[in-house]
Symmetry: C4
């Protein structure tokens, strides 16, 4: 079963610097791999004023989802995405997957959420 696409793009990344309450402000790149093969992702992070962070490697097992937190270097093989600055994301994968991007913002009282499917390229 090959369902989804091999390259996905997300222009609006931003990890708020502030958090209130028990839940930290964060973003997640959510990937669904419905195939029976392991999926090997290569993630690029783009910025407004500096060179990209390239080839961040993440694996998603067959028939599993992975919600990759961009505020947690341990989810990104040690790569650190800076907080409080705009960024964008490109996800490439050897098998077809589907990619959705979500933000939780707890910088003011009460939390806010937003989400969108990433843009599938091919």
């Amino acid at each position: 079963m090959s369902e989804g696409a091999h390259v996905w793009l997300i222009p609006d990344g931003y990890i708020p610097e502030e958090s209130t309450g028990p839940q930290p402000s964060h973003e997640a790149i959510c990937v669904l791999n419905p195939s029976d093969e392991e999926a090997h992702l290569s993630i690029t992070f783009y910025f407004e004023d500096r060179d990209p962070i390239r080839e961040v490697r993440v694996t998603v097992p067959p028939e599993r989802t992975r919600h990759i937190r961009t505020d947690l270097p341990e989810h990104l093989g040690g790569a650190a995405v800076p907080k409080g600055v705009p960024y964008a994301v490109r996800v490439a994968c050897d098998v077809a997957v589907t990619v959705q991007h979500s933000r939780m913002d707890t910088s003011q009282e009460a939390l806010a959420l937003m989400t969108t499917m990433a843009h599938p390229v091919r």
Copy 2:
């Protein structure tokens, strides 16, 4: 009238464990069947660390919508989606439908909402 697609994918599912106020935290898989035939859905739920829940059956009558609550087993033929863990969804259907996924999070003061169209496969 055949409008929509037969397979839809949603990577970012998550039912918050906490709720405040009169409205519970929940998610809904919202389906529109504009055709004049009954639509038979087969829903698969994927997780990060366990095998999928397969073949959850839901019916949508012709020219009707159904907003399927994933926190309510009675909406899923008895299947229980665990709270507080990431999940993903695949919806397959014998007739063309359109699928949108939404979350209401009332875990902190005041509610938050997010929604996206699911990714249409074919």
Copy 3:
């Protein structure tokens, strides 16, 4: 200039019954007509347990947007969409347009927003 599509689908409609603060809970079907021709919409509202409301007519002038409030019968030629029940929407148009759907929920303290592009059929 023909940009967009002629039929759009939105599965997740819901107008909250409660509002707090100065802004009422509402939804809007937002249409962009970038062409140089007047766009004639025919909107259908679908429900879970009753027949659709058909052929609600709305016009969008050339090179204009219209944000159609579904809680205001005066925006729908007098048609009344019930509050507090799930609904879905089909928008058909004689010229190509783009359709986005948004909800503002002020039922608890502080407001919540969600939006998605509608699903383009053809």
Copy 4:
């Protein structure tokens, strides 16, 4: 690398007039240019009751993102998008880019967010 599209449409623009707390209500047109060429955008703003604002020029360097604030004329070459009125957006570009649109609303207590990928035309 040519990834994305050359024309994108966004029907639901609205900059709330009110703000509370440290963050102003605003919207952003977020653009990712993953190519190795400079991207030259031409942005059109559409309204319900007045002629469009045309040919707002913005540049995005190669392998960079730009989050263009529509409430800040300095991000739009001096063009002023009015607050408190519905608007829509068309983004045209000489190289393929991806466009996402987001709103932060701080008009009541606590903030709200919404986002969607723009509609790709070609």
